[in-house]
Assembly symmetry: C2
Homo-oligomer: 134 residues x 2
């Protein structure tokens, strides 16, 4: 168990109470929550929380490369950047599953002209449950 405040400071983020709460929520919920899910989950412990703050905080985390946004059709999902892994997006139920597959690193010659922050490997299709149901 790591210290969130220290980790945020290491990434040039002042660890306000709200920011720590949002970060810890992401750490304990690696199932790619949306802004609404994060907002609703934290409302009881942070009654004055504003949805704008959730947006701002997540954008800050993304800027500092602590969080990766997963763009879905309807709304963004957020994933703490931990071990490199791939995702499977079900196009029926819009669930994002983790896959234990590492995205390939760009070789030097291909990456020569780019400054690469992060990598996403996404498989699109239909999950088992949705295949059965129809």
């Amino acid at each position: 168990m790591e210290n969130t405040s220290e980790l945020l400071r290491q990434h040039d983020i002042k660890p306000s109470f709200t920011r720590v709460m949002i970060f810890d929520y992401l750490k304990e919920n690696l199932n790619h929550p949306t802004v609404d899910e994060i907002f609703q989950a934290l409302q009881t412990s942070l009654p004055t929380l504003s949805k704008t703050t959730v947006y701002n905080t997540l954008d800050l985390f993304i800027d500092k490369h602590l969080v990766q946004p997963l763009l879905m059709n309807q709304q963004k999902h957020y994933d703490l950047i931990t071990d490199p892994h791939a995702h499977f997006k079900c196009e029926r139920c819009d669930t994002i599953f983790d896959l234990d597959v590492k995205p390939p690193k760009l070789d030097k010659s291909t990456a020569a002209n780019y400054h690469v922050y992060g990598t996403q490997l996404i498989y699109r299709g239909v999950c088992e449950k949705c295949q059965k149901h129809g």
Copy 2:
């Protein structure tokens, strides 16, 4: 040079004039255009074209696995499915560059529970031009 009408028919799409035009535009413009770009480009040759038709047609192409949507923050970009390749998204100028890298295929055991339509490998970062500019 392939015959578009025939190709569409092979994918259960009735090759209307509008659909062929939109498909051919995508074939000749592999730079990941948006709906607005497609719409504006085709307006001169199809003066009565509606933006809704562009949306509907692209959704149809996606359903039939002819086109892959690339989700950006602001709006969707569309890429004809041809040779497997990766993308680099510049987070400053929102350009999507093609990379000559093949996304890895899921091995049988990992893909056991999923029906995989397509794969996306996306590198996020800053392109050369944006690095220089600031």
